[in-house]
Subunit: 229 residues, 2 copies
Amino acid sequence: MTKKKAVVLLSGGLDSATVLAMVTNQGYDVYALSFEYGQRHEHETLAAQRNAESFELVEHAIVKLDLSAFSGSALINEISVPKANTVEEIGKDIPVTYVPARNTIFLSFALGWAESRNVTDIFLGVNALDYSGYPDCRPEYINAFQKLANLATKKGVTSSESFKIHAPLIEMTKAEIIKTGIGLGVNYAHTTSCYDPNDLGEACGHCDACLLRLKGFKENGLEDPATYQ
Amino acid sequence: MTKKKAVVLLSGGLDSATVLAMVTNQGYDVYALSFEYGQRHEHETLAAQRNAESFELVEHAIVKLDLSAFSGSALINEISVPKANTVEEIGKDIPVTYVPARNTIFLSFALGWAESRNVTDIFLGVNALDYSGYPDCRPEYINAFQKLANLATKKGVTSSESFKIHAPLIEMTKAEIIKTGIGLGVNYAHTTSCYDPNDLGEACGHCDACLLRLKGFKENGLEDPATYQ
């Protein structure tokens, strides 16, 4: 019997590091895919590399995607990242850290990359509970992409296999995600979540991503091993 | 009243040149988007530039997308392009010129680019009649992408406008497309369709794209102004 194969989107963050551990633990041969998309800080890619090196992967590709022509996002443009002191203060609207169509672009590329490697299982670490309100992190979005994937591709249309988009964290809280990862031996010191780190890669402690992460560790009675400013 | 705005995917081929003429003729302010995706020949991009220069566009962006890590396509890898002498000889299966998830990647990028320009109408020149059998050229695919677009984006989720993916050629024959374009003054000498041109950019005359194009001009009683080897 051939071994199960999976493509895993790996960002360098806490969520995708957990997904990577879950998928390798389930016995998949893993092809990890990271993007350099003009995000303001390169610490994400370095973190993704450190995560990838913790596992025996078939392949880890880092693909450059130039999204600099997109405007209006604090992750790729010179716009201030909102700061707060507690999770309760995080705004309810879609924040300025939203990058237009980012997950759709990442998943589309992953789809073609997976098809050309004969892989139909694609995993990503989106989360619809403790998250920032991004539309492309919701279950209905993931379902719509999966449907599209099987209409868009040669493999989806002509073979008996179909593409499956797996979002195993989608209904988990940040605390549950961290607990799962700790159980699988994830070294969260190798991950970076901050939207606004300094030049040394140290986290700000006050953006949405930092606040959600800190709360998740605290609820597990653990200290976040990330370095804060 | 603000003028209608549209993003048009512009490949350098006959179909997208026709779409560009149709959309400008309908009074849209046009943002054209082309991709250099590692296709074996660069003549496509040059043709797209010539087409773009024929119209007064708000913007024409040429974006590099590195798809070289994809394998198995005759358009980006060292695989022979199939040749024939008549349209009837063209195979019925999805051909080796299929690029995995190409239209999904292009449309995803266009979606983010459009959103960051406050544009919700996206046009592309796919065609489901005189085409090569690609899965991502069918109406059900376009409908699925449109649905996804409105789940994936801030604009789709929070505003009263919704994204529309327009494929005005989808039910037209190649002959009808050419007739429409001629009526709108398209200079088809500025377009290239061949999957396997020589170094001078001259068309082979025998790949699927050349055969369909030649038949389309012939049915209009016209000579194709493209240069053949």
